[in-house]
């Protein structure tokens, strides 16, 4: 009947004071009966009381045992510890302020940095295959070999000529707002647009 025992404890959480009073009354009754018994057998009143109490053993221990049956002992000790900690903190306000401030600053800084990091790096790029994004550039011989940027026609050439990778589409660089704008820019510069490709669909976040 483990369930019943747990139920009792739950109920006891609420009715705690009444249970304590009940137990007290029950024990008082027993003690009184025991006393009356001794008196019937001829003992004096005080003798009877001390004898009865002695036979009763340790009342405190007995109450503790009964209490064990209707408490969530770990939970109760936890609550008591928390209360004690709060009381102690209230008595030393200087320390408390410093500690709380330090914690607040630490937690706040961490949260801020993580949010920043999260926004910049770990948020997936809104394209279907973000890990497949590559940067391509050409090399040009000037005074020494230098990189040069890639243009849309470059992309088309490379796509047509490469035998090792499949180029599926382009995405605008930070400098351009969209592939359309990039194409428009290239058109303006006089490049010939042979084909227009659609970029892979943007992932809905």
């Amino acid at each position: 009947m483990e369930l019943l025992a747990v139920w009792h404890r739950v109920v006891a959480l609420v009715r705690r004071r009444r249970l304590e009073r009940d137990l007290d009354e029950e024990l008082a009754f027993h003690l009184a009966m025991r006393e009356a018994d001794y008196r019937e057998h001829g003992a004096s009143e005080t003798d009877a009381r001390t004898a009865a109490r002695r036979r009763f053993g340790s009342v405190a221990y007995l109450k503790e045992q009964c209490r064990d049956m209707w408490t969530f002992h770990p939970l109760e000790t936890l609550i008591q510890d928390v209360r004690y900690a709060l009381r102690t903190l209230r008595k030393a306000p200087g320390f408390t302020i410093v500690a709380v401030t330090a914690l607040a600053v630490g937690i706040g800084a961490n949260t801020a940095i993580f949010s920043l990091f999260d926004a910049l790096r770990t948020r997936a790029l809104p394209y279907t295959d973000p890990s497949g994004l590559v940067v391509l550039w050409g090399n040009v011989q000037r005074a020494r070999v230098e990189r040069r940027g890639a243009s849309y026609p470059d992309y088309l050439d490379w796509r047509a000529q490469t035998k090792t990778v499949v180029l599926k589409g382009t995405v605008p660089t930070a400098a351009q707002k969209s592939t359309a704008e990039a194409i428009a820019h290239d058109k303006a510069e006089g490049y010939k647009i042979v084909n227009q490709l659609t970029v892979g669909p943007k992932r809905q976040d």
Partner: protein
């Protein structure tokens, strides 16, 4: 403290004695202790410090039901009553006790 206690070596014994006592009718804690003492010819004096935890234990397990009532001399007392579950548990415990006590006796009677 009394010099004779309810037997401690079998932990369920006191519970069983209480169940048996209550199978004879509804009683309060003091009557239970008295009955056990008298029925055992003063051999078993139940220490009250053991009786009340036992009673509460049995109540939590659902073997007893407790109600407040008034005693013979019109004082408020808590009366305990055996439940159906308690009755069944009493049977089990009696069987177990008979077996164990018989076994112990047999061993002790060997030469």
């Amino acid at each position: 403290m009394g010099t004779n206690h309810a037997p401690v070596f079998l932990p369920g014994t006191l519970d069983m004695l209480v169940l048996k006592t209550l199978s004879r009718g509804t009683m309060h804690g003091y009557s239970i202790a008295q009955f056990i003492q008298q029925a055992s010819s003063d051999v078993l004096k139940v220490e009250e410090g053991a009786l009340y935890p036992a009673l509460h234990r049995l109540e939590v397990r659902g073997l007893l039901k407790a109600e407040w009532g008034s005693s013979d001399n019109n004082r408020r007392a808590k009366f305990y009553r055996l439940t159906a579950l308690g009755r069944r548990e009493l049977e089990h415990e009696t069987d177990y006790w008979t077996r164990v006590a018989g076994a112990v006796t047999r061993v002790m009677q060997t030469a």
